[in-house]
Subunit: 387 residues, 2 copies
Amino acid sequence: MKIAILGFGIVGSGTYEVLAKSGSSVEVKRILDLRNIPEIADKLTTDINDILNDDEIEMVVETMGGEKYPYEYVTAAMKAGKNVVSSNKMLVAMHYKELIELAKENGVAFRFTAAAGGTIPWLSNTIRRTASEKILKIQAIINGTTNFILDSMQTRGADFAEVLAEAQNLGYAERDPSSDIDGEDIKFKCSISSSCAFGVHVPHEEVKVFPLRYMKKSDMEYASKMGMTIKYMTFAAQKENGKCVAYVEPSFISAASLEASVPLNYNMVSFFGEFTGRLSFYGQGAGKYPTGASVAADIIELTKTKEFGAACSGEGEVDNSAELHRYYVRTSKKIECVAAVAETYEANGEDFCAVTRELSVAEMHAIAEKVKAEDASAFFAGIHAEV
Amino acid sequence: MKIAILGFGIVGSGTYEVLAKSGSSVEVKRILDLRNIPEIADKLTTDINDILNDDEIEMVVETMGGEKYPYEYVTAAMKAGKNVVSSNKMLVAMHYKELIELAKENGVAFRFTAAAGGTIPWLSNTIRRTASEKILKIQAIINGTTNFILDSMQTRGADFAEVLAEAQNLGYAERDPSSDIDGEDIKFKCSISSSCAFGVHVPHEEVKVFPLRYMKKSDMEYASKMGMTIKYMTFAAQKENGKCVAYVEPSFISAASLEASVPLNYNMVSFFGEFTGRLSFYGQGAGKYPTGASVAADIIELTKTKEFGAACSGEGEVDNSAELHRYYVRTSKKIECVAAVAETYEANGEDFCAVTRELSVAEMHAIAEKVKAEDASAFFAGIHAEV
């Protein structure tokens, strides 16, 4: 089968190399990239029409990232009757329902396993299990950069800014790390994962997020004293009538839990099925060859069958008003609306740390809005004793 | 699609219930069982020919366990042109190559995901990844009973016999626990897993096993002092020319490792792929609904495609002569052949504990043969600092 790759960056070139070494029958006929890349000069084009109008090309693999051009090219490819594989979380999260429906209308397949979890066949397995049972909930460490930071903070007692700089030097974190440490990356992955698991489009805009950005060494020390550690996690759960829970937050979890042992930049993603119980997947959530391997697996699978695609029966609605747990809140001064829900609220070094009574995620976010007006760098973390 | 289930025991009935609740189009037309089971009386038969001769039945699901009848029925079903799904590790391990070839000759599919790892889609994902890369090695906790025992020994400081009795009372261990604590169960699963990963039949008879049966509380305490814990694990690796490493042994692993955090009767199975790196799967390795969910997933997948079956290019050969690591050996008296390879060998309570220099698995087994002649209850564990 002949295919085209859009974008010869880290993931695109990784996919290309894995395919070349796999011995599969897949032939990369065209590669769209604006740069001049000598080793693939015979395949390069800057014009998407060279691909769309080539009837030999049966599949388009989008590894560009971003939204505007990928959206334009992917929809055009589907309309031209070509199967599509994408590793682009932003594209998939933003246009989930539309792209699944467009693929169906055009009788083509649409795969995006690498868009959440990198090399981990998380989405493909989640989709498959929905054929025989209801997926009740999801819990995941699904951002390698922030896990690297937290792992270093835990094992070495380092401070946030220090390990962030180190992660940037190692290439684990971007120069502008906002997408990772403000939870944008995880929010997109939560949207995609819960959409696949629950069979409706869970809008990324509705996923509530507490950032990791404001975390300090003292927060990790506080967690340690409770026999816990902090991981940056996402949780989602299926409720009645297309409603679901979906949020991202720094999370206090037991130091004895499996998630607490996730090292470096690894991911661990789990679903809880009606019959399966807990099923977890662990591996590299990013990286040239790991992610390339996942994209290549989607491509090779599509040469054999178009079955096992994600289904989307409609728009989901995020409702975090009944999702209850305690919170840890650290502020630079005592703030009344925190004190009102706190079981303890004590000085800790130059800060004040509260552990609240059980609050819904929605309630805590409402309180946090007020807190931020008085203390922009306040830190919020859910206490997840159940993990 | 109409199917038949052979054996309405724990897995068979679990599969039946999951299928019934899944809303899939699969209809269980016949169930073979020798017992009178009122709730499925209209489907029951004791005669395999009622199934083999029924052209409406396109798939046979074998959940009987054991070897003789399953082998007879499964081969007959394949010859009758029916697809086969089996959850039977003994059948699959003993007749791996033959059954894969027989299925191919008859143009039918053969699936056995639940035979190793229970609900975990371990085999299916391993097979799939082999289409694009070489699987280099496997490491796994793949027996829930012994993990339950070891987890209890670690967290509560309990002794082996005590937790074994408890596991029996909870139904996690059989009345005769030999298959679990002597490693027979893991041996079959190692054979199947490594066969799927390496593409050749890895004979279960050649997988070397050190039993867990002789472990004591003092062994766990010894590991703890080293910052480690003990898990009952299997390891396999692909070498050149169809050769592979394959063995099962009590294993000292770092207390900070992911495997060390595997609680209760859970399994954690991992492969290391050429491009993927480490990919791990975690879930219930047994149980009515978890295993039923896995069998049901195989069945439903087969209604959509016959692709993605395991391949077997020939007979593999186990060669553990170059697989090196240190060992922990506990004997009731000092034994010369242990002393000859020991870095330390000291009294520990009423016993003597040695940590050896690096030995190959083959060397250690040769030494163990001599040790057993002098001390039948000597305990051997690999020291796997790399886990």
